[in-house]
């Protein structure tokens, strides 16, 4: 697993790196909190990012996860704050986890693993939700497109659907996309 570490605390950075190395994980880059994280993420393409909770770059990382739908990355945070409630809340959010400073090597690895597992679980749920939304939208738009064809070309429902299906195949589109293209064209005319 390729890990990016972002922290200004040199001692902590070293401890964490040793713990991860002992568990067989590869730390690909260590950065201080003022580094250009955007560029670093693009260049090193890490599997997971460990960052100090107080690093300014956190805002950049979070927004990256929001805009780059293709490759969001799990973010795990260091904190000096030993409050377990903080940790529990963050983990519950499903997208990140907190690592308490001074954590021993045996405990670090499972926390990072759980954070990554949670993250992927969350991503696949999100994807399923997006797909379900698309399916619903497809059904609605296919109905509308069918109605348009029936009305304008005086077709019955079966023939209208067949025509729409053929239009989609000819243009190498999904039927929902073809329906939306047809609706958009009809709105222009």
């Amino acid at each position: 697993m390729r890990i990016m570490l972002v922290d200004d605390d040199r001692v902590r950075l070293q401890q964490v790196e040793q713990a991860l190395a002992a568990a067989g994980d590869e730390v690909i880059v260590r950065l201080d909190s003022r580094a250009d994280l955007l560029q670093a993420v693009q260049r090193y393409s890490p599997d997971v990012i460990l960052i100090d909770i107080d690093a300014p770059g956190r805002d950049t990382l979070e927004s990256l996860n929001r805009i780059s739908l293709d490759c969001p990355r799990p973010i795990v945070m260091f904190t000096d704050d030993g409050d377990t409630d903080t940790i529990r809340r963050a983990v519950r959010a499903g997208v990140s986890a907190y690592v308490v400073a001074g954590l021993n090597a045996e405990r670090l690895k499972p926390i990072v693993d759980v954070a990554i597992a949670r993250f992927h679980e969350h991503q696949s749920l999100k994807r399923e939700l997006d797909e379900a939304k698309t399916r619903l939208a497809d059904r609605r738009d296919v109905e509308r497109a069918k109605g348009l064809l029936m009305q304008r070309r005086k077709l019955n429902e079966t023939d209208a659907y067949e025509l729409l299906r053929k239009m989609a195949m000819d243009r190498n589109l999904k039927i929902g996309e073809a329906a939306r293209a047809l609706i958009a064209a009809a709105e222009l005319l």
Partner: protein, 395 residues
């Protein structure tokens, strides 16, 4: 002023290194917190995400927040859903859109003589983007400070007013203000929208030019608020009232022009804002009425501290406009649950400040100063125009 029975007199309040942290810094340094029985520890935060997380995990009692943040947290679109409350606007204005020297030069060459002001720059930028596209040049990159920030919505509002589609025609990314100056210098971004003093810092460093201000996009619009969680506000109503009262007093002090230099000195000396003292002084100096970028930071005048429910609704509608939240969300209801003018009024009454009697106001109706009835006398209000001359109805 009858003393309040404070549920929690010792508080931790978070601030971010920006000029508009100054009401909180002044309330501490000039004893306004102490006058209201509060013992406040100010903690310096470097990421908005950290402010949000620490509030929702009760590691902070209250914090300086971007005006849309408590709304996003309450709507559950920003990390762990946490209902929040804002009973005080900390300041109006202050942000600027800065472009690199190279982009400034290209835009200036492209700008037609009839294209003036903020809208003119956006129109020139649109033509520049079209010619770049035709010439196969890479898309421009602009940064703002947070997904749910006034900066983000201002930048998008400005781009869209010029006919630019923010999600297709250029790249928008998030870069914290101090780093944005370095990124602009390194040529990794072409422009940014940041709070004071960072636009001025970029200009003085010779790496970019301020072309548009927040004031020009929306006159006297809210920028930062005092955010607390709803659970905290319900558990500590008197403490909340004392906190808001102290900050209203600090804001009133700040808007006496003769105090601005002292405020700048306090902000520089306390070390909360690591910028050159002359930049901090310039950010807080009252501006001449004919300043090309319009009015600067306002903390108290024109009911600046009042959390208008209608302005909160405007933010939620911008979230809907840019597909951050579903259109089915009730913007008015969310706004009224988060922005709490009732608490502001109660606090204002304790310190002899006249507050608006209504929770909603229209935007875009006043080009000139105007007057509004208040709880304790008439309030002199500032202009509230939007860049595209749009009229935003109160209800």
């Amino acid at each position: 002023m009858t003393p309040l029975m404070l549920e929690k007199p010792a508080l931790r309040v978070g601030v971010v290194p920006l000029a508009d942290a100054v009401p909180i810094v002044v309330a501490q340094a000039k004893g306004f917190f102490a006058r209201h029985g509060l013992d406040v520890e100010i903690t310096l935060e470097h990421a908005w995400a950290a402010v949000r997380d620490k509030l929702s995990a009760d590691r902070l009692d209250a914090a300086q927040m971007l005006a849309p943040m408590p709304l996003a947290a309450t709507l559950g679109i920003d990390a762990v859903p946490t209902p929040m409350v804002a009973a005080l606007t900390l300041n109006l204005n202050g942000n600027a859109i800065v472009v690199s020297n190279a982009l400034h030069e290209r835009l200036s060459a492209m700008r037609h003589s009839e294209e003036i002001g903020a809208l003119g720059w956006a129109q020139a930028l649109k033509r520049l983007i079209e010619s770049d596209r035709a010439g196969g040049r890479p898309q421009l990159v602009f940064s703002h400070v947070y997904t749910y920030s006034a900066h983000h919505y201002e930048l998008r509002y400005w781009l869209a007013a010029g006919g630019i589609r923010p999600d297709y025609d250029l790249n928008l990314i998030v870069v914290p203000p101090p780093l944005a100056v370095a990124q602009l210098a390194a040529g990794r971004i072409d422009g940014f929208c940041v709070g004071a003093p960072w636009g001025d810092v970029a200009e003085r460093a010779g790496v970019g030019r301020r072309i548009v201000s927040k004031y020009q996009i929306w006159n006297n619009s809210p920028e930062k608020v005092l955010g607390v969680t709803r659970a905290w506000a319900e558990a500590n109503p008197n403490t909340h009232l004392a906190l808001v009262s102290a900050l209203i007093e600090a804001s009133r002090w700040l808007d006496q022009a003769e105090n601005r230099a002292e405020a700048a000195r306090l902000l520089a000396e306390t070390g909360y804002l690591e910028a050159a003292p002359e930049c901090i002084t310039a950010a807080l100096a009252p501006r001449a009425p004919d300043h090309p970028l319009g009015q600067g930071l306002v903390f108290h005048a024109g009911a600046a501290g009042f959390p208008w429910v209608s302005q909160a609704r405007w933010f939620v509608e911008q979230m809907q406009r840019w597909q951050q939240v579903l259109k089915t969300v009730d913007a008015a209801q969310t706004a009224a649950a988060v922005y709490r003018p009732d608490i502001y009024r109660a606090a204002a009454a304790r310190v002899g400040v006249s507050a608006p009697t209504v929770d909603y106001k229209s935007e875009g109706e006043h080009r000139l100063p105007w007057q509004l009835d208040g709880t304790d006398g008439v309030i002199d209000m500032g202009p509230d125009c939007l860049l595209d001359a749009a009229l935003y109805r109160a209800k």
